[in-house]
């Protein structure tokens, strides 16, 4: 027996209420749950609600009914126990994060063996130092802009394609761009102890930080492009809410 469009929509809403907000996680869970519910209705002869409750538990969502009738369970509080789904998302985040770290590291290694990039890097450093000599404040502002480039990319994709929103893959790629940003903030934080105020910190330090992180900025943008391309290839559409 195949579930109707409405029943599938009901399960999708149930997942949203269970805080499975990423569509690229939800689509896999939805297919699994629908398949399992269909199977249980046919082979175990149970109702839709009973089947969904069994599958809900199967994911490790411990639900205690407290004497509530199964038909009322969906109204009263099935959504309160989503520990299994939370674990599912956490584990997926962990693996995607591991995958991106691997890609970042691989790209970084390639960059440092690529003559073209090394020339680009040297040119960037020289240009940046020249700007610093000409106008230290400008070099600080340009440096800031360079370091937030991956974040600008993340915002760009957010507006360009709605499938990039509420996507675990993109959220993790943004996370690695935020890591870069937090490293920059960390340098502020460490240095502000040695100086009276942030304004007194010599600009040269930020120039050095920018030069140091430039390869990582470049790799981060590459990772973004790769994630976007991969998602485009796999899902091949702009489709989800």
């Amino acid at each position: 027996m195949k579930l109707s469009k409405e029943e599938i929509q009901f399960i999708d809403n149930y997942l949203i209420k269970n805080e499975v907000k990423y569509w690229d996680v939800r689509l896999e869970l939805l297919d699994h749950i629908v398949s399992a519910v269909e199977d249980k209705i046919v082979n175990n002869g149970i109702s839709f609600n009973e089947a969904l409750l069994e599958v809900h538990r199967g994911f490790g969502n411990q639900f205690i009914e407290f004497g509530v009738a199964k038909s009322d369970v969906f109204e009263k509080g099935l959504y309160q126990s989503n520990i299994g789904f939370k674990k599912f998302i956490r584990q997926k985040q962990k693996e995607v994060g591991r995958k991106y770290r691997k890609i970042t590291w691989k790209h970084l290694k390639i960059k440092f063996t690529n003559i073209q990039f090394l020339i680009e890097y040297i040119a960037f450093v020289l240009l940046f130092i020249s700007i610093y000599k000409f106008s230290p404040k400008s070099s600080f502002l340009i440096g800031l802009l360079v370091l937030i480039l991956p974040n600008i990319y993340s915002v760009y994709y957010f507006f360009k394609d709605k499938s990039a929103r509420k996507s675990l893959s993109f959220s993790m790629a943004t996370g690695s761009a935020m890591f870069l940003w937090s490293m920059y903030n960390l340098s502020f934080y460490i240095l502000k102890e040695s100086y009276e105020s942030v304004a007194n910190i010599p600009y040269i330090i930020f120039v050095l930080v920018t030069c140091l992180f430039y390869p990582l900025v470049s790799v981060n943008i590459e990772v973004y492009r790769k994630v976007y391309k991969e998602n485009k290839k796999i899902y091949n559409l702009k489709f989800y809410k």
């Binding site: 195949k2 579930l3 469009k5 599938i8 689509l27 896999e28 939805l30 297919d31 699994h32 629908v34 398949s35 399992a36 199977d39 199967g58 994911f59 490790g60 299994g84 674990k87 599912f88 584990q91 997926k92 693996e95 995607v96 591991r98 995958k99 691997k102 796999i234 899902y235 091949n236």
Partner: protein, 110 residues
């Protein structure tokens, strides 16, 4: 995964081998296939299957593809080239493990 903890260490090999025998499979299909092949002896739970699939995907051993099936999207897993090579290694490892255990548990058969 229910049944025995002994199966736990072999879960990746089981998934890789199943995908080696089938062009592509989706999550629920894998659980049902294992259940059928083992006549209900081995029951892979969702909590064990998906982390393993996502890990194998992150390691580059599996590739994914999405298709629309019955009013919903279905995510299929298939082996990459590296995955196919790794399956051979994992199966050899498993065979070696079985031989070693056989020698320990039942020396006459080893």
């Amino acid at each position: 995964m229910s049944n025995s903890k002994l199966y736990k260490g072999s879960l990746n090999t089981i998934i890789l081998q199943l995908l080696n025998q089938h062009d592509k499979m989706y999550g629920y299909e894998i659980t049902q296939k294992v259940k059928a092949l083992t006549k209900g002896e081995l029951n892979i739970t969702e909590g064990a299957l998906y982390p393993a699939l996502h890990k194998l995907e992150a390691e580059g051993l599996l590739d994914v593809e999405v298709a629309k099936v019955d009013n919903r999207l279905r995510k299929y897993y298939k082996l990459t080239e590296t995955g196919t090579k790794e399956t051979v290694n994992k199966l050899e490892e498993l065979a070696e493990y079985i031989r070693t255990m056989q020698a320990l548990v039942n020396p006459k058969l080893a």
